[in-house]
């Protein structure tokens, strides 16, 4: 141990005094990017890796703020609200030397709208994309869409010529049996160039010397070595032993250890993800309960009683080891529409809850099955276990059924669960996204994640009209009205906002990004 400390101290001294030219950052997280094809998978680690190599028109910086990337100016046209005009950055080159212009932007956005693209839903309101000169782009929408630009922050730009030359015009489709060239190769405009990549093993990137923002951003990391390490104990061990400099997904039970270790620190920030329970309140009778001919969850008083019975502070202290922010609404804090009043944590009041249960005719309680994932959210199964005990206090006898996510989520989608856990992140940072998926009646285009069977046609109309409301104060008023209904109806039982933990060597200087995507061009090294 002493030897290790000496060694560490020596290496740090060398690092501090010596060559500041080549700075390698060794980065590990639980999962690897699934593909380098920028439109094939809309998934956290995949987009996070793509952000080092490729760039969207506009992006979010490490604090979640929208900033220019390959577009320098944008906004809806003054005379036609259905048209968004983008001014593209001039003089930008792809890693292979090709110029970036409006032709590439049109190609990339149209590629993202094809049927095999995972991003086509985010562009569902787009009618057409066309060039306006070499450095101008016009996106025309079906009706005005005031937050269209928010959907573009993970929509990466590819070089049209490169894609055509390498037979990568189409997004990966699984039936073809062939691998698209773009799945393993990348040619972006981003701050780092791909050097080598073995999926699930190692990806090496080096600084793009010709990057347009070389002087604008710190760019102190000159080489990135990215290794996924799935086992959390091994991941922490790799950081403790100094084999990696920066890890995401530090398990909560190891936080104190990492923070207490010499030369290491942990940084935390609220994540863009809220955890809650959904309840089937629409069906006349439930399958997973012991009440015949009635649905106890359809009674508002029962839902309110359950809400009062859950002790969020206890979950935070015991289950999450202080690594959560108790929630009163199902929206992360930085989302448009979030207010501190709505997110106020409901008081735990067992007596009052029992009274409500008795009023509803369930003085003796009832039993119900709770479906819960066990490999998706931080301590998901343990949260459900805690909830089982808390709900038992008001007579709701819960049988917990915890399963891997691949089995849990189909239950929600196929409406086979009456009481379930779900987590939600909001990539657009606007409440409309939450309403579209979680509040609107489940149907073809909307409500695909709404497993509550809640249906309010009038509210649906308001939700649908949000997309085209260009008067922002009025739109915010509508959002507030919808939230009021969601809260009054006790549509969901919010639990908490997840907290992100990044563990790193002391030399690494960064803030924690709420979307869990580290963008290394912002990293500083001491």
């Amino acid at each position: 141990m002493k030897l290790l400390k000496t060694l560490l101290a020596t290496t740090m001294l060398i690092g501090a005094s010596g060559i500041a030219q080549a700075e390698t950052l060794r980065w590990a997280r639980a999962g690897d990017s699934l593909t380098l094809d920028p439109h094939a998978q809309n998934e956290g680690p995949t987009s996070a890796l793509a952000h080092q190599i490729m760039e969207p028109l506009i992006m979010r910086d490490m604090t979640g703020k929208v900033v220019p990337a390959l577009a320098t100016e944008w906004g809806p046209s003054a005379d036609n609200p259905n048209e968004w005009h983008f001014k593209l950055r001039e003089g930008v080159k792809f890693h292979d030397g090709a110029d970036f212009d409006s032709e590439d932007a049109v190609f990339s956005l149209e590629r993202a709208m094809t049927k095999d693209s995972d991003f086509k839903e985010l562009l569902a309101s787009v009618k057409s994309v066309r060039a306006d000169g070499k450095y101008g782009l016009i996106i025309e929408t079906n009706g005005p869409n005031p937050i269209m630009a928010n959907n573009l922050t993970n929509m990466f730009m590819m070089d049209k010529g490169w894609a055509e030359a390498n037979n990568a015009v189409k997004v990966q489709d699984y039936e073809g049996g062939e691998e698209t060239f773009a799945a393993r190769n990348a040619n972006g405009t981003g701050p780092y160039k791909l050097v080598s990549r073995e999926p699930d093993v190692k990806t090496v990137m080096t600084m793009n010397e010709n990057y347009w923002g070389k002087d604008e951003f710190p760019m102190q990391v000159t080489e990135i070595i990215y290794t996924p390490i799935q086992n959390q104990a091994t991941r922490v061990a790799a950081l403790l032993s100094g084999e990696v400099d920066f890890i995401q997904d530090v398990p909560v039970q190891d936080l104190a250890r990492v923070d207490g270790a010499d030369g290491l620190k942990v940084q935390t920030a609220p994540q863009n993800r809220v955890i809650f329970f959904g309840m089937n309140q629409g069906d006349a009778d439930l399958k997973a309960d012991d009440v015949d001919g009635k649905n106890p969850l359809a009674d508002l008083r029962v839902r309110q009683a359950m809400n009062m019975a859950i002790n969020r502070e206890a979950i935070k202290k015991i289950v999450m080891r202080d690594q959560s922010i108790p929630a009163g609404m199902i929206s992360p804090p930085f989302v448009n529409g979030w207010t501190a009043e709505l997110d106020a944590v409901p008081a735990t009041d067992i007596e009052k809850a029992k009274g409500l249960m008795a009023d509803a005719g369930y003085a003796d309680g009832f039993s119900i099955r709770l479906d819960c994932p066990n490999d998706r959210y931080i301590n998901d199964e343990a949260i459900c276990q805690a909830a089982v005990g808390m709900l038992a206090q008001i007579g709701v006898k819960v049988q917990l059924d915890a399963k891997p996510k691949a089995q849990h989520f189909p239950l929600i989608n196929n409406l086979e669960t009456d009481f379930y856990m779900l987590g939600w992140g909001v990539p657009t940072y606007d409440s409309e996204y939450i309403f579209n998926f979680l509040v609107h009646t489940k149907g073809e285009k909307y409500g695909s994640w709404n497993g509550t069977r809640f249906s309010n046609p009038e509210l649906d109309k308001v939700i649908e009209s949000l997309a085209a409301e260009t008067d922002l104060p009025k739109r915010n008023g509508m959002i507030a009205d919808i939230w009021k209904v969601v809260q009054d109806e006790q549509l969901y039982l919010p639990i908490h906002h997840q907290v992100l933990n990044w563990g790193m060597a002391d030399k690494v200087d960064t803030v924690v990004a709420p979307d869990d995507a580290a963008k290394f061009k912002y990293f500083k090294l001491n």
């Binding site: 073809g176 089995q407 149907g443």
Partner: protein, 327 residues
């Protein structure tokens, strides 16, 4: 001989087909791959379209038939998770697992035989008893715990060995090897010990009991009476006769080392087929799961087939019996 062989081969094929059938009937209990493949923003229509495209709406028998007919032409399908042909992924990952299995098999064999002989010869000594007790711990501790303990000791506390990965690898032909670099060799140590520990204790205990048996045999006593040196008796005569069952067991265990490398590979982030399989299960990557399970069953069925045929060649009694039945 020919008829016997043909019959054994036919039986092996039946076993393979049944394994595949059972595997395919289980896949839907693993979960639904569609959710992992589509983003959060997918609509119900997208789910339906992809399900139809992948043929997941078909009964599992049809899916299995399609897999078999494709596999017969050498097409193992495309991984749902990586979007790459399964065959090329498997080829890429196989060297890591095979090298790990070879080193841990060798470790188990050498150390196991050595300690087995030692504990048999000095069976009342303190060291021998100590080794026997410790080996019990080795058998009863789960692999992942041993792995984590080794990582904690040798990577975190002492900082001698890497905690994860294969180190630097070199491509020799299409084979990525870790044998040719210092970091590659260092990276092999901890996972090999973790993976081979169970087999090592097994071999050690087997050698010890066989050895004790042999040491009591008449020819050893005669050898002693003849005044041969202890060393010659122990290693020339006793050990040689001990090795027959040990080699049989070791051969069979090599198959299970490869098949059960899954846990070790997960703990050490070893980029082999075991880790690939774990990832495939979590993602419900049916083409990869199917190919891996078929590959492992081909391996086991193949080993058994060879063993059966060897027995036939060696043991004349089998030949007589079959002839009697046939004629």
């Amino acid at each position: 001989m020919l008829i016997y062989s043909l019959r054994r081969i036919f039986q092996s094929i039946i076993v393979l087909l049944v394994v595949g059938l059972v595997a395919f009937s289980m896949f839907r209990f693993v979960g639904d791959p569609i959710d992992n493949m589509l983003g959060q923003e997918r609509t119900d229509a997208d789910i339906e379209r992809l399900r139809t495209e992948l043929g997941l709406d078909q009964p599992f028998i049809v899916q299995y038939g399609k897999f078999l007919s494709n596999a017969a032409t050498g097409n193992l399908g495309v991984s749902y998770r990586q979007g790459r042909p399964v065959a090329s992924i498997l080829l890429e990952r196989a060297p890591a697992t095979l090298e790990l299995a070879a080193v841990s098999g060798l470790f188990a064999m050498i150390v196991g035989v050595g300690l087995g002989v030692f504990t048999a010869i000095r069976r009342h000594g303190f060291a021998a008893n100590f080794i026997m007790t410790v080996s019990l711990i080795g058998v009863s501790l789960p692999t992942f715990l041993i792995g984590i303990l080794l990582i904690y000791l040798f990577a975190v506390e002492l900082g001698w060995l890497p905690s994860f990965g294969r180190g630097e690898t070199v491509m020799v032909g299409g084979w990525s090897t870790g044998f040719l670099t210092a970091s590659g060799l260092k990276a092999l140590i901890l996972p090999s010990i973790t993976l081979g520990l169970y087999q090592m204790t097994l071999i050690m205990r087997l050698v010890r009991s066989e050895m004790l048996e042999v040491l009591r045999a008449d020819y050893i006593r005669f050898a002693r009476a003849r005044g041969l040196r202890e060393r010659a008796i122990n290693f020339r005569h006793a050990l040689k006769n001990t090795m027959v069952p040990v080699i049989t067991i070791t051969g069979l265990q090599l198959g299970s080392i490869i098949a059960f490398a899954i846990i070790t590979e997960t703990v050490f982030q070893w980029p082999g087929v075991g880790l690939l399989f774990i990832n495939a299960i979590q993602f419900v990557d049916i083409p990869v799961m199917a190919a891996y399970l078929m590959l492992i069953s081909v391996m086991f069925v193949g080993i058994n087939l060879i063993v059966d045929l060897l027995y036939f060649a060696i043991d004349p009694r089998l030949r007589v019996d079959t002839n009697a039945v046939e004629s």
